[in-house]
Point group: C2
Chain length 514, copies 2
C-alpha cells in the first residue's frame, strides 16, 4: 500500500468519501489509488473553483467535509476564491494539493511555487506531508481540523514521493469536539435584555435551523423582540410552517434604516452588522452608535443549547412561535420579467424540500419575502462575497442530497466566473435547475458607483460594467456543455420553464432575459 492509498483509506475511515478533483501529473498516484480503494466517490471538475465550491455546498448540506484534489500551486490558486467563500461560510473542506517530490523541489521546475504561502490566507490548517509513512496520519489530522466547529479549511500538501512510496498505517480522525457552551449567566442576562420591539435577536449559522428558528419565534412571541438574520447565511431553513425571518439588506442605506430602531442587539451565531464595503461618509457599523451589542454566542458555539436556554429563560416555552409562515398559493405571474414577477414565479414553483442557492445579486433582492410561504426549503447565500459560487455549490448540494431538487439562481456576471460547473452537472446527471438572470451588466456596480460617491460616471466607466457586447447566449452555452436549456422573456413562460426544469431529473438551465 503506497502513501496515496493509505491517505485515501484514512480519509474514508475518517468519514470523508467524496472527492472533487482536477488532477495533474503530481496527483496521478492518488488518482490511480482510487481504483484500489473502494468507497471514495470521485467527481471531476474542469476548473478548480468548481471543485472547491462543490465541496463547500457538500458541507453545507451534510455538515461533513468532502475533499478536493488540486494540482500544485496554480491548481490551488484557481480554487482559492471559492475556498474564501467556504471559509467565510464556516464550511469544512479537506484540500489535497499535489506537490513535486522532495528531490525535485530544490530545482526551479516550471510548476514550483510557494503552495503553503498560497494556502494560508484561505486555510485554517496547512501541512506539507514529509513522509509516506505519515500520510495517513496527516489525512486524519486534516479531517479533524476540517471538522472543528463551525467547519474549517484544511489543506494538506502531498509531495508526489509521499504518494508513491510505501505508506504507513490507516489512521482515523478524532471525533469532532463538542461545540463550546455559553455560560448560563450570559444566557439569563441576554434573555432579560430581549424585551419589546426595540430589541433585536440577530441570528446566524446554526441558529438558522428549523428547530432553532422555532425557539427564536417563541422568544419573539414572548418578549416582543424583533428577529433578523445577516444578509448572507450559509444555510437558512424556511418556507411554510417555519418561522420566517428577514435578512439585513445589502444596500448600505437600507441596512442602516432597518437597524436604526434598535437600542439593543443580541447576537446568536451572528456578527455585529457591518457594511459589505466602506462607503465615503457612511458608517462602517450598521447599528446605531449608541445601540448596545450583546455578543451572546459566536458561530462556533452550541447554538442549539443557547436558543433552547434563551427560550426557557424568557419563559417562552410552549408559546406559539411568532412569524410562522403560512403556505401561500401564489398565482402564476404573467407579463414582463421584473425582480417582482421573477420572485412570484419562484414563489409559485419552489418544491418541497428544495435547496435554493441564491447568487441573484441585484435581481434577487426581492425574492426573499415573496418565497416565504413556499413549501419548506433550504436557502443558501454567499458569505464570502466572491462571485461565481452558486453553480459549483449547486453541484455539492445535489451530490449530497440526491433526493432533493436544487435551484441555482445566478446573475449572468456571476455565472461567468465558473461556467465549467455546468459540464460537471451534465456529467453527473445532477438534478439542478439553473436560472441565469441575464441583465447583461454588472448591475450591482451601477448602484455601487453612486454609493461610493461617483457622480455622473462617464462612458468608459459604464463600459466596464456592461456585458451586452456581445450578449452571451446562455442557452447555447449550456447546450454546448451538455445541458437542456430554455430562454424566457415573460413571467408565465418562466414559471412553466422552472416547472419543466424541476420535473426533469438532470440539469437544466433557464436564461431569464431581463
Amino acid at each position: 500500500m503506497n502513501g496515496a492509498e493509505s491517505l485515501i483509506r484514512s480519509l474514508i475511515a475518517s468519514g470523508v468519501d467524496t472527492c472533487f478533483t482536477n488532477p495533474g501529473t503530481s496527483e496521478m498516484h492518488f488518482v490511480a489509488a482510487l481504483d484500489h480503494v473502494p468507497g471514495m466517490r470521485s467527481v471531476l471538475a474542469l476548473f478548480e473553483g468548481v471543485a472547491t465550491g462543490a465541496a463547500d455546498g457538500y458541507y453545507r448540506m451534510t455538515g461533513n467535509p468532502a475533499c478536493t484534489l488540486l494540482h500544485l500551486g496554480p491548481g490551488l490558486a484557481n480554487g482559492l476564491a471559492n475556498l474564501h467563500n467556504a471559509k467565510k461560510a464556516g464550511s469544512g473542506i479537506v484540500n489535497i494539493v499535489g506537490e513535486h517530490a522532495e528531490s525535485h523541489l530544490a530545482l526551479d521546475a516550471p510548476l514550483k511555487s510557494d503552495i503553503q504561502g498560497l494556502a494560508r490566507p484561505m486555510s485554517h490548517w496547512v501541512h506539507s506531508a514529509t513522509s509516506a509513512a505519515e500520510v495517513g496520519r496527516d489525512g486524519a489530522a486534516a479531517v479533524t481540523a476540517a471538522r472543528t466547529a463551525p467547519g474549517q479549511i484544511a489543506t494538506l500538501i502531498l509531495p508526489s514521493d509521499t504518494a508513491w512510496s510505501e505508506g504507513g498505517p490507516v489512521v482515523t480522525a478524532e471525533p469532532p469536539a463538542p461545540r463550546a457552551t455559553v455560560p448560563s449567566e450570559a444566557v439569563v442576562a441576554a434573555a432579560r435584555a430581549l424585551s419589546g420591539p426595540r430589541t433585536l435577536l440577530l441570528l446566524g449559522g446554526q441558529a438558522l435551523t428549523a428547530a432553532n428558528l422555532d425557539h427564536a419565534g417563541r422568544i419573539a412571541a414572548k418578549t416582543g423582540c424583533a428577529l433578523l438574520s445577516e444578509w448572507s447565511n450559509a444555510r437558512l431553513e424556511r418556507g411554510a410552517g417555519r418561522v420566517s425571518i428577514g435578512r439585513i439588506p445589502y444596500p448600505i442605506d437600507q441596512a442602516l434604516q432597518v437597524l436604526e430602531p434598535f437600542d439593543r442587539i443580541v447576537l446568536v451565531g451572528a456578527r455585529p452588522p457591518i457594511g459589505f464595503f466602506a462607503y465615503p461618509g457612511k458608517p462602517a457599523r450598521l447599528t446605531r452608535p449608541d445601540a448596545e451589542i450583546i455578543d451572546l454566542a459566536d458561530w462556533a458555539a452550541d447554538l442549539d443549547a443557547v436558543l433552547d436556554g434563551l427560550e426557557q429563560e424568557a419563559g417562552a416555552a410552549g408559546t406559539t412561535p411568532l412569524g410562522l409562515a403560512e403556505a401561500a398559493e401564489l398565482p402564476v405571474p404573467t407579463g414582463a420579467l421584473t425582480p417582482e414577477t421573477i420572485g412570484a414565479a419562484l414563489g409559485a414553483t419552489i418544491p418541497e424540500n428544495a435547496i435554493v442557492i441564491d447568487e441573484a445579486v441585484t435581481t434577487g433582492r426581492s425574492f426573499f419575502p415573496v418565497t416565504a410561504g413556499a413549501p419548506p426549503h433550504s436557502w443558501i447565500n454567499n458569505r464570502g462575497g466572491s462571485i461565481g459560487y452558486s453553480l459549483p455549490v449547486a453541484i455539492g448540494c445535489a451530490l449530497a442530497c440526491p433526493d432533493r431538487k436544487v435551484l441555482a439562481l445566478s446573475g449572468d456576471g456571476s455565472a461567468m466566473y465558473t461556467p465549467q460547473a455546468l459540464w460537471t452537472m451534465a456529467r453527473e446527471g445532477l438534478d439542478v435547475t439553473v436560472l441565469i438572470f441575464a441583465n447583461r451588466s454588472y448591475q450591482i456596480l451601477r448602484g455601487e458607483l453612486t454609493n461610493v460617491g461617483v457622480q455622473n460616471p462617464g462612458p468608459k466607466a459604464l463600459d466596464m460594467l456592461s456585458l451586452d457586447r456581445p450578449a452571451i447566449d446562455w442557452v447555447g452555452l449550456a447546450k454546448s456543455l451538455g445541458l437542456e436549456a430554455y430562454r424566457v422573456d415573460e413571467a408565465g413562460a418562466l414559471t412553466k420553464a422552472i416547472e419543466t426544469g424541476l420535473a426533469l431529473d438532470g440539469p437544466v438551465l433557464i436564461e431569464v432575459v431581463m
Copy 2:
C-alpha cells in the same frame, strides 16, 4: 484629482497605457477615473485569469508592462495561475488590487482576506498603498519593479480610501536599468568550450530573438556545436530565413535521449535542463551526470551582447549561420486528423508575421519541425505549466500587435480553464484564430500515468482523465460568446478553415475533432 486619478496619470506617465480589468465596488473610483484621464485603454475580462494572462501576452510582444485591475483577495486569487505563468516567463505586469478602506479593514467584512499573503508567491514586488498622496509614487514604483529585467510581477494593493481621497503628485517610473553584463573572460572561456557536436549551446529568453539566433547559427557553423532551446520559451522567433532551433522534448525519456550525447552545455538565458515533474526512478536533471554545465548568462543578462561576444570570440563573424530555415511550400494535407496532418495544415497556412501561441499539449508535440519553414513568425510557449494560458495570452498579443495575425492552439482540457477569454476576443473584435484540439481527454495525463509508474490504471482513474461525457460542443460554446466557429474532422477542411479564420479580421474558433 483623487488618488485613483493620480495613480492612472502616473501609470500613463510611466508608459503603462493598457489595463485589463475585472473590477468590483472597491475599484469603482479607479474605473470612474478612466473617464477623467485620457490615454488608458481599458479592456474588460469576465474572469481575472483572462486579465492576467492578457497582460502576460501583452508584455511578451511589447516588452512593456500592462496593468490589471482586480477585486480584492479573491479577484487576485483568480488571476494567480496566469500570474504564475507570467512570472516563469519573465513577463512584467503591474497588478492593481483593490482593498477595503483602512477604517473597514479592522472589521471582518465578507471580502476581507490577506491580499499581501496571496500576492507574494506570484509577485516579485508587493506594496499596500497607505496614503492617497503617495499613490502616484506607488504606481511609478510598481512600473519600475515590473520593468526590472527580464520582467517582474508587481502588485500594488489599493485601499479604496487611497483611491477616493485627494491625491498627490503624478510620478514617472525610473527608466529601466540596463541589463547585467557578463564578464568578457567568461565569454572567452565559453567560446573555447563550444567545439564539436558533443557541445551544446542551450538558449532561452532574449537569446531567441531573430538577431540572436543568427549569432547562434554562426557560432554553430563555426564551432560545430549543437543548438537547442528549452521546451518552453516565452517567445521564439522562427520561420523561413531564420535560424531554426529545436526544443528539448517534454517527455522525460525523449528529453534524456536528446541530451545524452552532450559532454558540455553552455547556457545562455536558459537554465540547467530538468524534468517538468519528478518521476520515480528517473533523474531530475536531464543532462548526463558527468556533463559539464557552463552557466554563462542568466535570462536577466544582456544576452544580445553575450551572443555577439561569443560570435566574435569563436571567430564566427561573417560565416553563414547554420540551420537557416528554407521557405517550404507545403502541400495541403488531406485525410484523417492526426498530430502530423494538423501540423502540416499549420505549416501550409501560418501567415507572415503571425503570432502562434502554443498550448496544444499532446497534440502539438509534432507541430514544431513541420512549421519551421513557414513564413517568419513568433512562437509562444507556456513556461509556468499552469494550463489555461493560451486564450488569455492571445488577447494581449492581439491588442499589442493589431497588424499581426494571432493563432492560438489549445487542447480542449486547457481551454476549459479560461473559456471566458473568447468573450473578450469578441468584444474587442480581436484578430485571433483559435484552434481547439478536441481529443476529449486530459491526454497528457494518460502518458504521465505510465511515466510515474502506474501499471494498468483502473476505470475510476481513467474516468478522471476523460472529457467525453458529455463531449463539449466547442462550436456552440464559441458562438454563445460571440465568435464565428467551425468544426472540422479532416485535414483538408482544417486547412481551409484556418485560411478562412485568418482572412477574417475578428475572432474565429475552429474545433478540431480528433
